[in-house]
């Protein structure tokens, strides 16, 4: 098992053990989506129309929920020091941690999204497409959030700072995520363009996120 596989396995184990946040994101997502009809009212056509937007907003907030702990726990127990002293480039370590985070918090959101879509009266036939847009877009949320998570260690401020820093950066992902989900519902608009841009955002963040997060962690050296 190589070093990156080792950190992937460790982080996933930590997420599913006591005190880990693996299912918190999915539960939060469930609650946000369940609360929406209570706030808006049980008008089915309206729910169907805003359903994709609610699902995307819920997924966005849920995927950022546990992110601030990504580096803080490693910083507090001294693990981060040792992670920085390894032969493996820190960029790759950071990317492996982000991947583990996505697999334990992002992927469950994608899996339960079709079920929650039913609760919002989203058309049965597009639930799969909707999950596909989430699958393509949530990695971008995790990898953009990674930068915020690293900064919250470097600046020694947790929690809210992360949300304030990261949420504005996720606006493009939200726009194209909801646009591609809506395109899947309303036939005349082509699904392709918005979805490709969403994939492009994810791929770009996959590269830039770890580099920026590593720069933030290194800068945090004192």
């Amino acid at each position: 098992m190589n070093p990156l596989a080792a950190i992937l396995v460790r982080d996933m184990r930590l997420a599913v053990r006591v005190g880990g946040g693996a299912l918190m994101g999915a539960l939060f997502f469930l609650i946000v989506v369940t609360m929406t009809p209570f706030a808006i009212g049980p008008e089915l056509t309206l729910l169907a129309r805003i359903g994709p937007a609610i699902l995307w907003l819920g997924a966005l907030l849920a995927s950022l929920l546990a992110l601030d702990r990504l580096f803080v726990t490693d910083h507090d127990d001294g693990s981060l020091d040792l992670l920085m002293m390894a032969e493996v480039p820190l960029e790759l370590t950071v990317a492996a941690k982000a991947l583990a985070h996505w697999l334990t918090t992002g992927l469950p959101l994608v899996v339960i999204a079709p079920l929650l879509g039913l609760m919002l009266n989203v058309d049965m036939h597009v639930l799969g497409w909707l999950a596909l847009t989430l699958a393509a877009g949530t990695p971008a949320l995790t990898f953009v959030g990674l930068v915020g998570a690293a900064l919250s260690v470097a600046l020694r401020r947790g929690g809210l700072l992360l949300a304030v820093l990261v949420l504005p950066l996720t606006v493009p992902v939200l726009i194209f995520g909801v646009a591609s989900a809506n395109a899947a519902i309303a036939e005349p608009t082509p699904f392709g363009p918005a979805f490709t841009i969403l994939c492009a955002l994810s791929l770009a963040s996959l590269v830039l996120g770890p580099i920026a997060a590593t720069a933030a962690l290194r800068h945090g050296l004192e």
């Binding site: 930590l14 001294g78 020091d81 032969e87 050296l221």
Partner: protein, 210 residues
């Protein structure tokens, strides 16, 4: 120390010239120079706040070098000092929800050791606790687990920050045997300490003496 891979003998030397450290805008120390060759130990002493830990963290690449030079000759070419050094700090770098074995297994794999980690557990007397979550360990047991980490992965430079803290007398004796073994194999030890750590011919670097 039969479990360690035998390495070709290289004349290794860690040199510091005119090191200075600033933390939070305050100068902690300056003009610190020393040389430690393979098989030698350097004990860094000094009162609280004179920068013993900062010096160790600086060698480990975790604190920015404000001035001066730090070089390791005779080590692996194009590897940073940090990649050839073990840092044993005040924190254990062990996850409470993972078991003792899982913690140690992770660090040996992550730090690139192909060897088995169980002899290290055995050596530090932690083998009976291997399946216990690290959360239930005492301070001394956690310390021993950290020491098992630096034993399980072969790296030439050991940076030990008050290594004997929280250890009982038998464990301190065990630690000094381990350190002597490391020196005998041509390793380098830089340790910050207030008291004796059980090394006979260690040189001393006194910080904040001025």
């Amino acid at each position: 120390m039969a479990h360690r891979a035998s390495e070709p003998a290289v004349v290794m030397e860690l040199q510091a010239e005119g090191l200075a450290c600033n933390r939070g805008g305050r100068e902690v120390f300056r003009n610190v120079s020393f040389k430690v060759a393979a098989g030698e130990a350097l004990i860094v002493t000094g009162r609280n706040g004179t920068g013993k830990s900062s010096l160790l963290r600086m060698i480990a690449g975790l604190v920015r070098i404000a001035a001066g030079r730090l070089t390791l000759t005779g080590g692996v070419a194009d590897a940073a000092i940090a990649e050839q050094a073990h840092y044993l700090g005040h924190q254990d770098a062990m996850k409470a929800s993972l078991t003792v074995a899982e913690n140690l297994q992770f660090w040996t794999k992550f730090l690139g050791s192909r060897g088995d980690f169980s002899p290290a557990l055995e050596l530090l007397g932690l083998a009976p606790l291997a399946d216990l979550p690290a959360a239930y360990l005492s301070a001394g047991q956690r310390r021993r687990l950290s020491i098992a980490r630096i034993v399980a992965v072969t790296r030439p430079v050991w940076l030990l920050d008050e290594p004997t803290s929280a250890l009982d007398t038998p464990s301190q004796t065990r630690l000094s045997e381990i350190m002597r073994g490391h020196l005998a194999e041509g390793g380098i030890i830089v340790a910050a300490a207030h008291g004796a750590i059980g090394l006979d011919r260690a040189r001393e670097l006194k910080l904040g003496a001025a």
